[in-house]
């Protein structure tokens, strides 16, 4: 099969030639959604009885920490090596095309590091609060766990998600165009409790969270947001944060760009003015066509993408009833509606949102239809509870130009060909 993946984490993209040659012609053997589908063995099929129905399988504790089926081995994060100069200051992408529901499994949450993963010994973990407070404090991890806890599901999206697409369709796969996002349930303590414990001075207006990694990641966070809904989290999806997600504790800044969610957080300084750190001046500012640049562009606007069909998830069954699915989210609140088109925007249909619809969390949508086997131009358009509607890429370019890098939430188009193969395109 042409869709075999490597263990090197590189894209197992079906080559176009391979797809056409071995793909549909192979009929029942075709791989679904880009998976490593083993070749079918007639001995397993009715009326025969498969080995797994006959013999004992592995017992308990075969894997004390469970891992996915070997047949799911290509459901992995992947990177685009030419994007960055090193692996330690780099990014990889969540395989959105292989996922469903709204929760991202911990091992598939995309990674973005600026100085590699800090390998923090939890016994030696400390969180310091200093600056404009009555009492400068140091908390241990055990201290943090003594505060009243909250559980919240939020998406985290890198501001550069879809950043490679400003000038036009570039990468073939929603993993690469939209995979700098994950959606996780965090367990942690409201940041407000920690700040109140230190006692804020009356002139406190800004915080500077700082990471304990070798990049010392620092950003300026307005106090109002910190007191509203920020958290210090130490669990994700019920278990300890993964090292690459900030173990043992990270900042959660709901709805705002991922760079602010400082991992391995070691310190919060309280001040009266912003710091204008490197990550909020040189980076994570949005250069406009006229040479000016927007700064402090924190909120992630409403956005959606069809995850299947998509270039890594072609339609493999030929014409007939099919399920289109995707995800939508907004940093301003709940997604209230998603529209889908399969004819390039001539006609739109309201998609069905299924599963929890939560504030600043990913939403799952579906649109089922009977595919007649002809070419499709597929798009989705999200609305949020503030009345925001996801713009087209051309609408964004008209206001911002093409040099912004960050905050590209424009509508994505997939071209589904008669073969079922899908490519990333833009349309008139």
């Amino acid at each position: 099969m042409p869709m075999k993946s490597g263990d090197d984490g590189k894209l197992p993209r079906p080559s176009r030639r391979g797809f056409l040659k071995g793909g549909l012609a192979a009929g029942g053997l075709i791989a679904a959604a880009g998976g490593v589908r083993a070749e079918s063995d007639p001995e397993n099929l009715p009326p025969n009885v498969a080995d797994w129905s006959r013999y004992l399988g592995p017992g308990v504790d075969a894997a004390p920490y469970g891992v996915p089926s070997e047949y799911e081995s290509d459901v992995v994060r992947r990177s685009v090596e030419w994007l960055t100069a090193s692996r330690e200051s780099s990014i990889n992408f969540t395989p959105l095309h292989d996922l469903d529901g709204i929760i991202t499994p911990n091992g598939l949450c995309f990674e973005r590091h600026h100085g590699g993963v800090a390998e923090v010994n939890p016994t030696d973990y400390r969180l310091m609060i200093n600056g404009l407070v009555d009492k400068e404090l140091v908390f241990t991890l055990d201290d943090l766990k003594r505060f009243p806890r909250e559980n919240r599901i939020y998406f985290l999206e890198c501001a550069a998600n879809s950043g490679m697409e400003w000038r036009g369709a570039q990468l073939n796969g929603c993993q690469f165009t939209h995979g700098m996002i994950h959606n996780v349930m965090y367990t942690g303590v409201p940041l407000r409790y920690l700040l109140e414990e230190a006692g804020l001075k009356t002139n406190a207006r800004w915080l500077m969270p700082e990471g304990g990694d070798s990049a010392g990641m620092n950003r300026s966070l307005p106090l109002e947001k910190a007191l509203d809904d920020c958290m210090i989290a130490f669990k994700m999806n019920g278990e300890a944060l993964r090292p690459e997600q900030g173990y043992p504790a990270r900042l959660v800044v709901p709805g705002w760009e991922g760079n602010m969610w400082v991992k391995w957080i070691r310190r919060i300084e309280v001040g009266d003015e912003p710091w204008h750190a490197r990550e909020e001046t040189s980076k994570y500012t949005d250069l406009l066509a006229d040479g000016r640049a927007r700064r402090f562009t924190w909120v992630m606007d409403a956005k959606s993408v069809v995850t299947s069909p998509s270039p890594q998830a072609p339609i493999t069954h030929g014409k007939g009833f099919t399920v289109l699915t995707g995800v939508a989210w907004s940093g301003r609140g709940r997604v209230t509606r998603v529209d889908v088109t399969i004819d390039g925007g001539r006609n739109w249909h309201q998609a069905r949102i299924d599963g929890p619809s939560l504030d600043k969390s990913m939403h799952r949508f579906y649109y089922e239809f009977d595919w007649d086997g002809s070419d499709l131009l597929v798009q989705s358009r999200a609305y949020d509870e503030t009345g925001y509607v996801q713009p087209t890429k051309d609408e964004l370019r008209a206001v911002r130009g093409t040099n912004s890098i960050y905050h590209n939430n424009g509508i994505q188009t997939w071209h589904v060909k008669a073969s079922g193969e899908v490519e990333n395109v833009e349309i008139s």
Binding site: T202, G216, L223, H276, G291, R294, G345, G387
Partner: protein, 223 residues
């Protein structure tokens, strides 16, 4: 008892302030955490602000900076801060911000000099962070000012005292976030049927095919 009353009155006072300006609250109600010692804070408090707050004592010249830069920085950033491979270019790029290929350097883009000091001290050299002395850091920053023609005197000395007086050329070109900048649903109800007569494919990813698998040409960096 008196402690309780004191805390109570403190809270009450803050509640009034908070209701007036929805500002900070004070409490310490859980009694969790240990007071930080001045030594602990000094060891970790490394940030520097545009007004100079946080700068340590120290100074460095352009010439000192050239030597330190050659030893500690040039392997990635080049002898003249021009950048090696995909590592960041630190100098030049003036008058490119409106172009098709903006070159965002310390001189062409960064609004505040304090950012240069703060970032170099906390994160550089890459893989050996917080190893520079304050004097070395001042010297590197002075060298970068020189390489960006912001200072022209090779004898220029950058110090805690004159640091905040240096202004960066692009400072005025940063504006606050003015999104949403596209039409809202309330003002323009999106069309649902017969919205356009004709649809054409205008761009295709396969044309520049840079999806990993083959060679990677230049693309917009996220870094």
């Amino acid at each position: 008892m008196s402690r309780f009353r004191e805390r109570f009155s403190r809270l009450a006072g803050v509640a009034i302030v908070a209701s007036m300006m929805s500002g900070p609250a004070v409490a310490g109600k859980f009694g969790i955490g240990t007071e930080a010692t001045p030594e602990q804070v000094a060891g970790w408090d490394i940030d520097v602000r545009p007004d100079g707050q946080g700068l340590p004592e120290g100074a460095g010249t352009v010439g000192d900076g050239e030597a330190v830069f050659a030893e500690r920085c040039a392997a990635c950033h080049g002898d003249f801060a021009e950048g090696v491979d995909r590592w960041p270019v630190l100098a030049g790029g003036r008058d490119t911000l409106k172009s098709e290929n903006p070159v965002k350097t310390v001189g062409s883009y960064w609004p505040y000099l304090s950012t240069v000091y703060d970032y170099i001290y906390r994160a550089m050299p890459f893989g050996d962070a917080q190893s520079l002395t304050p004097d070395e850091t001042y010297a590197i920053v002075a060298y970068l000012l020189y390489m960006n023609d912001i200072v022209t005197d090779e004898e220029f000395v950058l110090s805690k005292e004159n640091f905040a007086s240096v202004r960066m050329p692009n400072e005025a070109n940063f504006i606050d976030d003015d999104r949403p900048d596209t039409p809202l649903a309330g003002t323009q109800q999106p069309c649902m049927s017969d919205c356009k007569a004709e649809v054409k494919i205008t761009k295709r990813a396969v044309i520049i095919d840079v999806t990993p698998e083959g060679e990677g040409p230049e693309g917009a960096s996220v870094d």
